[in-house]
Structure formats: structure tokens, C-alpha cells
């Protein structure tokens, strides 16, 4: 079970206020599908606008990235730069 | 609008060109003589990217009318290296990583050359004030100043041993 942390308000608007929840997933692709199923709109939001930190490492569009059994997954906005 | 014919010496070579009365030396260097090493960063004499040496004086070529150079000697970045050998300033800019994007570099090199021609042993402060008309947005000037002072030292050494 990966622990998903959703501190940003636009995520919480779709989780019914939940700041964290658990998902059984082995890859990011898996994770997004399950999140979308559970919180309609959130999976797509993450896919299009957000980055995912897996155990402290920020990834963007890394659908194939593996999740360990107790991975911590943090949802955060995508990052650009100058 | 009739064009004017002007004859000058650019980087040691005689050149003749036609220009509109409103065209600047920078326009002519870049568009007529295809010497695009002199850059236009502002067109108002505030950035120094178009710096050339005209009859021994450092000028912004964007603030000189093309017709004004009749009979003048103009030195541009394209003439700074002697054949295939870089000028010590060019070499020191490379050695010290004194350029990033490189857009201000031709103007800074010409300004630095004029500095060392006028003052072979500038202090850091003198170099900074002399080069204040040459904006660089990448480097923070630190490495440029070090390169100029190092080139000055080398040129002084060369002069001694010559």
C-alpha cells in the first residue's frame, strides 16, 4: 500500500478534504488509474498538471516508475524554471 | 533618398560602401559589410555590444552615422585576432570563462582592448569604470574583470621581454 499525500488545496477539493490516503499500486500508471477511479478528476488532474514525489524524489510523467510496498507518494504541482 | 558613398579602412582593409543618410556605422558593418560580430543590444549607446574602435577611440557604432567614418580607421572584433592567433584578451576571456552567452563579448573585448591601449596597468576599479558602458547580464562581471587584468599583466610582460 502506497501512502498518498495531498496537501495542495486543488487536490483536496477532489478528495473530499482528505489529506492522505492509501492506494495499492505497483507503478505510477497503476496509481493514477486507481486514484481516478476513487476520486474522479484527480487522476487526470495529476496526469496533466502535477508532479509526483516518490519517496522524496520528484518525478514528472514517470508513468512507468515503480512503487515499493510502502512508498510515500506526494502530489505536488509541476515545476518549471527559467 | 539617395545613398552616400563612403570610403574607410576597416580592420586594415580599404572598404567603400553606400549608405542611407540615417544608417549607422553598426548598420553598415552588419548589413553591408557582413561583419556581424558587432551586436545590437539597444541601439541607443547604453549596452556597448556594438563597440568598435574608430581612429583610436572606443565608440558605440550604433551612435555613429555611417557617413561619418569617411577616411576613418575602424577596428572591429573581426580584426582583433592577428590572423589565426588570438589576441591575449581573447585568450584570457576563454581561460577565465569570462563569457556565457557571448553576445556582449565582442563589445567587451573591443572596450578592453581600448582600455589596455590607453592604460596598460589598470586597477580593478579603473577597469570596472572603463567597462561600465558594456552590459553583461550573464557573468556578474567577476570573470571578465579578472580576464582583463590578467591579459594586462601578460601584455606588460610581453612588452618587457620584447
Amino acid at each position: 500500500m502506497a501512502l498518498v499525500i495531498a496537501d495542495y488545496a486543488d487536490c483536496r477539493a477532489l478528495t473530499g478534504g482528505l489529506r492522505s490516503f492509501e492506494v495499492e499500486a505497483s507503478t505510477v500508471r497503476d496509481l493514477l488509474q486507481q486514484i481516478e477511479a476513487r476520486f474522479p478528476g484527480l487522476g487526470d488532474l495529476i496526469d496533466q498538471r502535477m508532479a509526483i514525489a516518490i519517496d522524496g524524489v520528484i518525478t514528472q510523467d514517470a508513468h512507468g516508475a515503480a512503487l515499493a510496498p510502502h512508498s510515500e507518494v506526494v502530489l505536488l504541482p509541476k515545476i518549471g524554471g527559467g | 533618398m539617395s545613398k552616400q558613398r563612403t570610403a574607410a579602412i576597416v580592420n586594415g582593409d580599404p572598404v567603400e560602401f553606400l549608405s542611407d543618410p540615417g544608417q549607422t556605422l553598426l548598420d553598415v558593418l552588419r548589413d553591408e559589410l557582413h561583419l556581424t560580430g558587432s551586436k545590437e543590444g539597444c541601439g541607443s549607446g547604453d549596452c556597448g555590444a556594438c563597440s568598435v574602435i574608430m581612429d583610436g577611440r572606443l565608440v558605440c557604432s550604433c551612435l555613429v552615422l555611417a557617413a561619418e567614418v569617411e577616411g576613418c580607421r575602424v577596428e572591429t572584433i573581426e580584426g582583433l585576432a592577428a590572423g589565426g592567433t588570438l589576441h591575449p584578451l581573447q585568450q584570457k576571456f576563454l581561460d577565465h570563462a569570462a563569457l556565457q552567452c557571448g553576445f556582449c563579448t565582442p563589445g567587451l573585448l573591443m572596450a578592453s582592448k581600448a582600455l589596455l591601449d590607453a592604460n596598460p596597468d589598470p586597477t580593478e576599479s579603473e577597469a570596472r569604470y572603463w567597462l561600465a558602458g558594456n552590459l553583461c547580464r550573464c557573468t556578474g562581471y567577476d570573470k571578465i574583470i579578472k580576464a582583463v587584468l590578467d591579459a594586462a599583466a601578460e601584455l606588460r610582460q610581453d612588452r618587457k621581454s620584447a
Binding site: 486543488d10 527559467g82 | 552590459l135 567577476d142
Partner: protein
Amino acid sequence: MNKPVKPEDTGPILKVVGTRPIRPDGVEKVTGRAAYGADLHLPGMLIAKVKRSPHAHARIVSIDTRKALALPGVKAVMTSADMPDLAAEHYEAGESASNLRDLSANVMARGKVLYHGHAVAAVAATSNAIADQALDLIDIVYEVLPHVIDVEEAMAPDAPILHDQMFTAGLGDTPTKASNIATKHRLDRGDLAAGFAAADVIVETRYSSAAVHQGYIEPHACVASYAADGQTQVWSSSQGHFVIRGLCAKLLKMRFSDVRVIPAEIGGGFGGKTTVYLEPLALVLSQKSGHPVKMVMTREEVFRATGPTSASVVTVKMGAKSDGTITAAQIDLKFQAGAFAGSPVGAAVMTSLACYDVANFEITGWDVVTNSPKVAAYRAPGAPNAALGVECAVDELAEKLGMDPMAIREKNAVRNGVRAPYGPVYKNIGYVETLEAIKSHPHMAIPLGPNQGRGIAAGFWFNIGGESTVNVSINEDGTAIVSTGSPDIGGSRASMAMMAAEVLGIGVDQVRPIVADTASIGFSTVTGGSRTTFATGMAVVQAAEKLVTDLKRRAAETWGVDQDQVVWQDGAAHCLQADKAPKGALTLAALAGSAGKTGGPIATVVALNAQGAGPGFGVHVCDVEVDPETGHVTVLRYTAAQDVGKAIHPAYVEGQIQGGVAQGIGWALNEEYVFSTGGVMENAGFLDYRVPVASDLPMIDAVMVEVPNPAHPYGAKGVGEVPIVPPLAALAIAVRHATGARMHDLPLSPSKIRAAIDAKAG
């Protein structure tokens, strides 16, 4: 705690990485040969210019281009009617998603002009002078509307509205009334009220910054050539030619394969050259005229219609216990987005507390449209504005607590294992080491004289990875070509060549790095976000490693041994079974010379989406002297320490730090957009938009702290953006300590400082 790691501790001894070779594109640049955007000349080429709005906000009633088109020498005239009317669609490009409808309306106004300088029409003609005359012949009728530029005024309920269909997102419920607030961002954790209740002291403060421009010295420039069969070539100076391609194709509804973008050398970008302004217009004009078209902005146009970054107002309420522990922080960030939504306030929300381990916080950000040029990315977008507020608030807190400014930062510093305020748990960060590097630096021991002050501030930037493609090929003589799709804005060709040379075991002078055009290499996103040395560098290393594997296979075949009997060292294959290789090692040159006999050309491509960019932290200390009678600030000395992971080419890492500091000093002291009451920028030139000149600055001591990033083969972290984050606060704090007056509004111009000194005295 990590210790700064010396190169010899990171594994194999590095021969190239960490040295300071001369950059491969250097000679071209010191001899004036390097070709930038405005340097290309094609036969039959036209010059195109843009007609711009004289109003800050107006409805376009009519545009009549007939007289301009009739002028001899004019070959084409265009308006937004010549571009597809696009739906609102988010397109992932450059620094962040672009709304294509907004972008289209920004490059050429549609229906309304939203800022003074907004493009309304463009002409292509046979000369500059004719193009100028043609612009004067375009008749435009405007209905002038009230305008608003100040971010707080734009948020007021009765403010003039820029976009009738803008309803604030992020409030929970979508409002029914349109406003200039595009989005409200919110990030919070813990119990704010309890946090403040636990505090012994609380500060409440407010800091503002004016809009500032990236100020690259090269104005935007491009050449577009549209052939009758629809195939086009665009030469453009940008931070990402693939993004230029994508945006042109999307805005003009063209096939990507029909748009070939060739990267010119780029004369500085700092984020500002990650989008399009001229290229789509040049393409339309080239298509309409049947000629190649060159467009070059004037400096004035650069100021009026590109860049800048947001003006901002940051309020901070922060509480701490008497031992310095920060218990709660409430931060509100209002950012000016310019004419279209999309300020960097989201990143400001995320970075504002990134250096602090705070249990209870609430951070709110407001993205607000105004009648000023649409903001573009600028070096760590959003972070400097946020750091100005937070670092100054921390200094105020330290002062109230009677605590040393370094000690309060150490007390609350984020460390490995601490959850970052923006979400993830920190790993492999070097903030504490960076604080230590400043604390122990000789700078800190230099005594200050009268009217002198010292300011300390910290800063953070995420850094990013992202998509890159790299080709590495070995020439027949054993030299190598490294092609990337990443424009080189500050020396990245040098670091690419170095990493390839390191892996291949050859000299860096044997590697020629180039930036390939969009038809010659796979997709690579912009050079921005401090990603190129990290992400494109990772692809270079992987490509070179693939080649080494291939070279070992070729050598094994040649010798008739198993591949595990071959080692690659110093640019040659060595056989562990000496008897099988009587002629000794097979050099890269030998293997390359006989490549046809071992399978053909030696070349490979790596395309990746690099993950795991390590965040960067910087700590700066700055000493100033303030003339108490004039308010003039002299920067006496400046030291900037930064965790760079591993410096691939230390001289260019120092250069990034020094350059970022210089931009930050300019932002703090003198740079600002000054608008007239009519909404016209009054200082659209380098005379009155005052970027620092050489005599304004001291030497800038760049201290590189190396806490390696395990995600990168050599430990590199991005370095380009962090250094612009701390200077705004460092300067404001230094001026505070030099004068006793707390400065709340940037820039810290002499008149403001004198006024603050007078107010304090009187």
C-alpha cells in the same frame, strides 16, 4: 548529515569532470563569428516589423491595412485575422503549460489590446525604412478602456476587468462574477492557530517588489522561410527550439514535421526565451509574401512586449518560541501575471518556506492579470519574490528575539528526512552544509564600519529533469560528436563534451558537441529549470556508456574473447588475456577505423525523461555601505555559497552563481518597470532600466558546496536558478543593518532609502 564530498570520494577518479577546459564554442564567440538570431542573411529576405498598441487597454474597433499594403516595397501585412482562432487548450511546452488561445492573443492581439506595446499588426517589406513607413500607414481605431496595473488594485472588486470570462479558480466554488484573479493557490499543514499560540514572539510584515525584466542583451530575433509546399525553416534564438516548433505548429495549425527550427546562438534568456513572440508572425508573413522574413525586436520592444517577471506583494506573519523555533507561518503572495493568467505564484507558494522546518503553516497565492506585458519565466520564477518576504521576516524575527541571523536559520533548517513544506521528504540535500560554508567563511569575520551593514539570506530552487535526446557518434579517426537538442546558454556544450570524454576515456578536445536542429535529433525540452547539465548530461553519459559497451563487444570479437575479458580504460579496450591481444590495447581510433568490420558505424542515441533532479540551496552574505545623506548603496562584498551537487565545469558553475547574484542585486537596488498613469512603461531602455554595470559590483565569491545527487552519474544538481533567490532579501537586510531603517519595497532606490532614514530620524 551529509559531508561535502571531495571528488576522490565519489568513486572512480575523474579525469575530465571537475576540470576547467576552454569551452568548445569559445573561439567562435571571442572572434565574433558565432551566429545569433539577427546575424543570418538569406537571399530575398524581407524585414518585418510589428505595429503595437498605444493604449494599455482598449477594444480594437477596426484595422485598415490597405494603405500599408499599397506602399511600394511592402510585401505582406498581417493581423490576428491571419492566424487560426484557437480554442482554450493547454499545451505542455517550455516552462509550463501554455494556454494556446492566450498565447495566440499575446503574439497578436485579438479583439482587445491588453497592454501598451501589445502587437496588433505586422508588415514585411524590402527594407527597414519601408517597414517603418508601412507601420505608420496602418489605421487602427480603438475604444480606450480603463486599465489597471498594480496587483492589489487589480484584485479590487471594482477594478477594470481584462477578461470577461475569467472566474477565479481554486476558491472551491466557481464565482459567478468575472475578476482579474485567475487562480487562488493554497498550501497548508498543521494547526496554524495552535502554532501562533505556542509562539513567544510574532512578526507581521509586508514586502513588495516591482516587475523586473530578464534583461538578456540580445533582443528577440528570428528568420522564417515558408516554402510553397508548406515546409518551413525557422532560425531562432531561444532556450528551446523544440518548444518554438511546437508552439508555432500549434498556433498556426501546422504539422510538426513541416516546421524545422534551427537554433541560433542565444544571447541570454534567463527564462525569457522559452516562448514565442515573433516566430509565428514571421511564418505567416513569409507564407503571405513568398519570401524569407527576418524579425528583430528593438530594445524598447523587448521591454514593452516580452518578459518580465511579476511585481509582487508578500505578507508574512511568523511566530517563534524564545529559543528561535519557528512555530507557525502564514504567507500571502499576490503576483502580477500581466495580460494573461500564469504568474509564477504557484512556485512561490511552494518555495516560500522550503528552507524552514515549520510544523504549522498556511500559504496562499494569487495569480492576478493586469494591463502589463504577460510575464515570462525568469530564473527560479517566483522564488526570489517569496524569499524577499520570508527571509526579511526571519530577520525581523531574529531581531525581535535578539538572536543571530545565522543561528535562527540553523535552528530551523531543513535537513534530510524533514518533510519539505511543498510535500516530499528531503533526501541528499546540502542546506546545512551551505549554511556552514557561509558561517565559516572569512567574509563573516570582516568587521563592519560606520553606515555599513551585513545581510544574510537563504534561497531554494527545485531544479528539474525532463526530456532530452542525445546522439553520440564516433568518427572514423576516433574523435566523437555529441549532439543534443538543448540550446547552450551558458556553456553547456562544454559540460556535455566533458561528460562524454570522461566516459569514453578521451580528451575533451576530442569531443565536438553541437546543438542539433529539430529535424536532426529527437525532442528535447527547453534549456531552463537548471536542467541541461543534469538531464541532457545524464543522456550524454548513458549514450557514451552504451558506446563503451559496444566498443568492448567489438574488441572482444576482434580478439576472439568473451566480452567480460575486455575492460575499457583511457580510451582503449584492454584484453585481460594478454596472449589473445599480441598487439596490445585497441584504441578508440583503431576500433573506429575498422568499425565496418565489427558491425558498422559506431553511434547511438539516448532519449530519456530524467527524474530525480536534486533541489538546490544557497546561502548568501552581503555587505553594503549606505550614504546616509543620499541613500546611495554601495555593495562592498558578496559571498554566495550553494550546494551544486557536483560541479562538472567549476568555472561555469561559479559563473552561474555570480551571474545570478548580479541579477539579484540589480533587482534589489535599481531595476523596475515604471509605468505612467496612462499605463505606459516610462523606462523602456537600458538607460533608465538600470541593470548593474561593472562598476556597480564587487568581485562575487562563489563557494561551491558539493553534496552529490545520486540520481546523476557524477552527482550534478542544477545550479543556474538558486543564486537569484537570496540577493533581494540579502540586500534589503544589509541596508536595514546599515541604516537602522527596515526597507519593505524594492527596488531600494536612493530616494526610498533617504526617505526611510529621514522617517526614522524624525
